[in-house]
């Protein structure tokens, strides 16, 4: 049994005016094995963030099933203990390092409270020790734990956000564009860190991003989303070096790199638009 099994997940956002409803997630199905890093690739409007939030329980679904660790996650939560238990299996790291931490607490306190809320430590000393371990894990110091978020850099805040996610010892961490707002050199450090954490702890990742290069570096499998539907999935190197679907080809063609020519992308887009109209999906 896979760690995560998503079947025919569907979500439509209804707009107030008579304007068309938006199908954010269109009958999406996929699975994530324990310890696997899966990339969810797409541009804006692809539905990738919505899928991530549905998995986290921050967004509801209109149809379909989401089973994580054998539990039906779309069923309404009954009571506090069930809510807390669900939090222990999946955690999330958000995109914006600016709002991701509670500003009025020191980062150490943020971690402590997460541990306490789940009764993961039974004494102040144990909390202190565990917080120290978490900080170590994300390569931050005890001195930094006494800082408030605004005193830390974007990269450091994201690392605390990762530590916060790991504090509850989840089996899956959902990273929603978690490195997109970081400088390139900082991004590299955080990606390194994520890879190391995965190697050491066997935690699974659902990495949501628009950046193909980052997905290729961190993930083993990739799902390509276009307008809420999965258009291609498979081994990440295969998908990115031998894309089959016209949209994946367009994405690959659009990614800057050596020998890249934007005007060829325009051609790729035109052939893609043709394909989509022919297939009736446009």
């Amino acid at each position: 049994m896979s760690l995560v099994e998503v079947t025919e997940l569907h979500r439509v956002f209804r707009t107030a005016r008579s304007a068309a409803d938006v199908t954010a997630v269109n009958r999406v199905s996929f699975a994530i094995e324990a310890g696997e890093a899966v990339g969810l690739v797409g541009e804006s409007g692809s539905g990738k963030s919505t899928i991530a939030r549905i998995l986290m329980g921050l967004e509801r679904a209109d149809a379909g099933t989401v089973v994580i660790d054998g539990e039906d996650r779309l069923r309404r939560v009954r009571g506090r203990s069930e809510r807390l238990r669900r939090a222990r299996s999946v955690q999330m790291v958000f995109q914006d390092p600016n709002g991701t931490l509670d500003r009025h607490l020191t980062v150490g306190e943020t971690l402590r409270r997460a541990l306490k809320a789940h009764r993961m430590v039974d004494s102040r000393a144990a909390a202190q020790a565990r917080v120290g371990e978490l900080l170590d894990r994300v390569r931050l110091t005890e001195r930094q734990s006494r800082a408030k978020p605004h005193e830390l850099s974007g990269g450091q805040r994201q690392r605390i956000a990762i530590a916060r996610a790991l504090a509850l010892e989840p089996r899956l961490v959902v990273l929603d564009e978690a490195v997109s707002a970081l400088d390139v050199s900082v991004q590299a450090q955080v990606l390194d860190l994520l890879a190391e954490i995965q190697r050491d702890s066997g935690v699974g990742y659902l990495f949501v991003s628009h950046d193909l290069a980052v997905i290729q570096q961190l993930c083993q499998r990739a799902l390509v989303l276009f307008r809420g539907a999965v258009v291609e999935q498979g081994d990440v190197d295969r998908v990115l070096t031998s894309p089959e679907h016209a949209y994946t080809k367009l994405l690959v063609a659009s990614t800057p790199g050596p020998g890249w020519d934007p005007e060829r992308v325009v051609e790729a887009r035109m052939s893609f638009t043709q394909r989509m109209t022919v297939a009736g999906e446009g």
């Binding site: 709002g99 991701t100 809320a117």
Partner: protein, 282 residues
Amino acid sequence: MTVLLAPRPRTRKKRGGSWGFRIAAGFLVLVAAASAVGPAVAPYALDEIDFAAIWSGPSAAHLLGTDQLGRDLFSRLLIGAGETLVGAVILLVLATVLGVAVGVLAAWRGGWLDAVLARITDVMFAFPGLLFVVLVIAVFGKGKWTAVVALSLAYAPVIAKYTRSLALSEIARPYIDAYRAQGLGGLTICLRGVIPNLLPALVGYLVVLFGGVLMSLATLSYLGFGAQPPSSEWGLMVQEGQPGIVQGHFLPTLVPGAAIAMVVVAVNIVGVRIADRLQARG
């Protein structure tokens, strides 16, 4: 992510008026002391009538002169300080507790609850505050405490509206989602996440509001709906001093009136500074 170094806006060279702050703060300390020990240190009693000395100007015996009944204005001022200010503070606290509860609840739950509360608030706004208070008093009778309760009900919607918009922007930040992802319940998140973070902005707002609150309470006493004679609540003092003005005796009205104005100004100066400090740290 480009961080554009924002040049400091052209500020005048003076050091933020720190001498003004010190004077205002010192004045408030004096007023607070008067509130606490006024009755004990006042040279004369509250209702010590002396027909031989009516409407006398400042002298060694009467520092600020006397009113139409020969009562010492300085003593009345000292003794009335507590009543005036404690009333205003309690009023503000009541209004804040009610307003914040309603505002945060509306922001958190949204939907129909928000709509209902918004409509109730709008009705309260549409109704002239003073009229509402007079109505309450007509039903429950005149008196200082009735005035305090009535005014706190009148001010609560104002605070609720402001709190709601502060709370809405707070709730939109990712750290709130992070708390939800940790399995914390709505009440916990509001109490430990939302409210502490909106406090700095709220305090700044309340400080400015305090001036208005003080004035409203004094106005009620002036109109005869609040404190009753022989109290020397400052608003009541202003009213009692009025008949003397046509005869050229200004002090009985001027002294309490100036005291009210000075307290309002001092609270603004000190409070705004405190609010700025809180903002910077938060």
